[in-house]
Assembly symmetry: C2
DNA sequence: TATATTACTTGTCGATTGGCAAGTTAAATG
DNA sequence: CATTTAACTTGCCAATCGACAAGTAATATA
């Protein structure tokens, strides 16, 4: 009896796990398509093919293309909050004068690990439809205010250059991410892999040097 | 006779001008669609509707969607070269130590006047297909080398911050353009028009201050 | 063992896509 | 005035789109 129950439970879990695996594969494939091609240019059939699953499973598991986009965006944003959140927790352990520099370097390295985040923001930031509204309320506005607060604290300490916080946000975001968002172009221009560890580290240093008014320690 | 000839010539020119007007309207509409929605998400029927012309005229005047893209991109790139070229000619008239600052401010203000340029580059810079190849050979590579040369000259004068030219290119381009490319998002976050003259001028100052190591004159 | 549920599969629908071809219209030409 | 040409118009085509519905197969439950 107990044995049968365990087997039944294991089967149930395996079945659930397989369904979760299908959803996970679809979300990863959707994220790739939506961030690089945009929402309208991404076909559900193409997303299913890249995910390696049968046609129709998007509508079965998510109900619609719109719901798939929301699930994929939610997955990306929660991943972002988890990864960047732990970096920001580490930040508070270090010397206050170095915090802005640490923040910027962490942000640049995160953007290199997840270029799909900024690609999606670029795709959806140009026109104001339901997807930009969703992104703004779900994560962009909180993140924007967090960056502005970090900048204001650094400005009080004198570790940030003098400028308006709004311009700082777009200078930081643009300077930090374009080389990764446009990796294909950057690779063709330089001959090097923009997402390789050396380039990422060098870029993080450049952006941090520019956007902090004190020099990095030896 | 001479009068008739003049009338005939005028009629001929009017006919030709109307055809040119149709092509111009289609190119402007195509540029808007391709830069904000991307190539695949832009429909030829939609482009014709926005242009206010009848269905079928894209294939009549350009032959195919691909040829329309090339014509629109060529128009944008020649406009860019003309506008930025005159700014760069003005640059050589001023004090050499102020040239990098003037260059950056001119570039930022141009990007605000023509956000479709950087939007198109972002759309096409993510994946390496025939459109990125076309853009690279037609204009990106020459412009990239021009920026790198301007940076190197400024570095010799000591007016540029110390960094690799490739990183300078992407820091400048990203910092200068994201606030305009993502104007819908930036407007929602700040409540102000990112393309308005005050915001553009403030942004040009911020980027120029950051990317030149000497202060602006009184 | 019979039934129900979950996960997946497949056929089909109406709408939209880019492109072609056979038109029409009007001005230019001889 | 007859003919040609340039500019535009429209009907149609195969392919693809998102979505739905009617399946199948395997597992869970009673």
């Amino acid at each position: 009896m107990q044995n049968n129950e365990k087997i039944a439970l294991a089967n149930c879990e395996r079945k659930l796990r397989d369904a979760q695996a299908t959803k996970r594969k679809l979300i990863n494939s959707a994220l790739l398509a939506f961030s690089t091609q945009g929402y309208d240019a991404s076909s559900t059939r193409g997303i299913e093919t890249v995910a390696g699953v049968k046609r129709g499973l998007i509508n079965y598991h998510f109900g619609s293309k719109k719901a798939l986009w929301k699930a994929a965006a939610e997955h990306l944003m929660s991943t972002t909050e988890r990864d960047l959140g732990s970096a920001l927790a580490d930040m508070k352990q270090i010397d206050e004068e170095q915090q802005l520099r640490f923040f910027i370097r962490s942000y640049v390295k995160f953007c290199a690990r997840h270029p799909e985040l900024n690609r999606l923001m670029i795709q959806e930031g140009m026109a104001h439809d339901w997807r930009l509204t969703w992104l703004l309320e779900r994560s962009v506005r909180p993140w924007y205010e967090q960056v502005c607060r970090a900048f204001s604290r650094a400005a009080e300490l004198g570790t940030a250059p003098k400028m308006d916080a709004h311009h700082f946000y777009y200078v930081l975001t643009g300077a930090a991410t374009l080389i990764f968002s446009n990796a294909a172009e950057a690779a063709a221009l330089s001959g090097k892999d923009p997402l390789g560890p050396e380039t990422v580290d060098a870029h993080a240093d450049v952006v941090a040097d520019l956007l902090t008014s004190i020099r990095k320690p030896l």
